[in-house]
Homo-oligomer: 331 residues x 2
């Protein structure tokens, strides 16, 4: 016979102010018999804890928190394991599932698990500084405790080159001071020194502090454990104290949507730089004698990929791209 049904709720409480917590996060804490979390996060929800068993854990006791939660849930209790931001983004959801699997737990067992999503630090910080995430972005933790530095360095190098907006989590701590300097160095290989950077500390909390700087001065800023660093892409700008990334690359590539042939352009050549138009032009250029190697170099893409595109059967697809914006299908 199994006991009463226990439950683990992995709750992302958002940036820290109750305003930016979801209804479900608040309800999950209200529903809980036991609330487990890092002592700082427990403080952020202190007024929701009356009558509950509260387990305050240290910063390094992540697996311990998950083990405690499982033990309580197996007694039939409802346990809220709280993370700041989103429970899935460098939060407790991952370590908890790892502990659960190791303990032989399955979704059919007597402990139910629910992950409650929330606004992560990247979303909170972005909202405070303007609109830096309007184009593709990455999140990288500079903590090298569980990740070898070369893995982190390769990621920094890759996304700096590929022009992502980048959020650095855990950029610096008392003992870990050189990672942010190395990140800056890797970025400066690809991005101009004046690239906008926002340094956001304790977003939506009492000691919130926002500093705008540029890539070449980034590592001189006041950066600590509660800081997120946002690095713009090559189009990001700061105006009136707001950091904004434009939606598209239209300016850089001088798209002309009217379909007319202008001086220097060839009739029959697609003016679209979308996939289908790009493929058409690639074929024309190749037929005109441009080698795969030259095309790969010009488009900064692997030669075998260019080759595969050229070898693919020509689809009889409309060149005209549907007028669908990036935002609209956000699910």
């Amino acid at each position: 016979m199994t006991g009463p049904q226990g439950k683990i709720m992995l709750v992302g409480i958002g940036p820290g102010s109750h305003e930016h917590m979801t209804h479900r996060a608040r309800a999950a804490i209200a529903e809980a018999d036991v609330v487990v979390g890092y002592v700082t996060y427990i403080k952020l929800v202190a007024d929701l804890l009356e009558g509950k068993e509260v387990v305050r854990k240290g910063m390094t006791e992540e697996l311990d928190r998950a083990v405690h939660a499982l033990a309580s849930a197996r007694e039939g209790k409802k346990v809220a394991l709280i993370s700041s931001g989103d429970a899935g983004v460098y939060g407790m959801a991952g370590p908890t599932y790892e502990v659960l699997f190791q303990a032989g737990w399955t979704p059919e067992s007597d402990v139910e698990v629910e992950v409650v999503p929330g606004a992560s630090a990247i979303n909170a910080c972005a909202a405070l500084v303007g609109a830096p995430l309007t184009h593709d972005f990455c999140s990288i933790s500079l903590s090298d405790l569980l990740t070898p530095w070369p893995v982190i360095a390769r990621r920094l190098d890759a996304v700096a080159a590929a022009d992502f907006v980048v959020a650095l989590y855990n950029p610096k701590s008392g003992r870990r001071t050189q990672q942010i300097v190395q990140a800056q160095q890797l970025f400066l290989r690809h991005r101009r020194p004046g690239t906008p950077v926002a340094v956001v500390k304790s977003a939506y909390r009492r000691r919130e502090r926002i500093e705008f700087t540029t890539l070449d001065k980034m590592s001189e800023c006041d950066i600590g454990m509660l800081t997120t660093v946002l690095i713009g892409n090559s189009h990001t700008f700061v105006r009136h104290g707001l950091m904004v990334t434009p939606r598209g690359y239209a300016n850089k590539y001088e798209l002309h949507g009217d379909g007319s042939t202008r001086e220097g352009e060839r009739a029959g050549r697609s003016l679209s730089t979308g996939l289908i138009g790009w493929m058409e032009n690639l074929r024309i250029d190749h037929a005109d004698g441009e080698t795969v190697a030259a095309l790969a170099l010009r488009h900064q893409l692997p030669a075998d990929y260019i080759e595969a595109v050229l070898a693919a059967p020509v689809e009889n697809e409309a060149v005209k791209q549907e007028a669908v914006s990036a935002e609209e299908s956000e699910a």
Copy 2:
């Protein structure tokens, strides 16, 4: 004389269910005189709109929505411009600031602007499938309307190589069907065919649908405008119907934290693969005769970066890394 103070609130309503909306998002809509949004999002908050002026816009009318919001705000009205997910992530925050700047708006003018963050599709989808975002991740839109395909392709190639967990937004539409095939092709150059992929449609909405697949079968799935595709990193696994990315790379690199010298190891050589230990080992290997080029190749990092690391003054920093986990400083 200026008129009454108007306000534009850029509201991220989260995935779509009221449960996962923040208190501030709900309050912002309640406070608004006018609510502007894509018709589908307006439906998601229909029960909050009584007595309000509601402006339903088409999918492509993003700038139009922002222009309308500004006009209303200049009349002294409070306007909620709603986005699904987070207002900053491929949402209305970017286009609106662009329209505002173009109209000569400044933060000191008679229109106040507030961005209300929310859980983005990546957070919502991750919560539903397990814990895929426990390590570094990227978000890439496959819409090539405003972004040239080579830019998107370079990003796909870069993050596939650098082992990020990746969320694909706008993976496919009625007319835009080949981008997901190309993305798959680029990923298969770097990741094993069995890499776990989750295809999530309408997260937390009525027609929610979750499908687990693998990279080699990804493009055969039912993918549409309301789908987000999550591709795991090289360590991500699926167990009991849950997609989980481990926190660290400990297994792969066989870290040994006890500081003991084991067979095949050399005393004096750092066992840490964190930045400081890695730098020490790099110097030892170089002193032993390994060339910069060989080191660059082995660590898959640019040669000039390796050179800069070798040239940097040796810091007398403790090799022992502080036991700080990635999650803890999420601000």
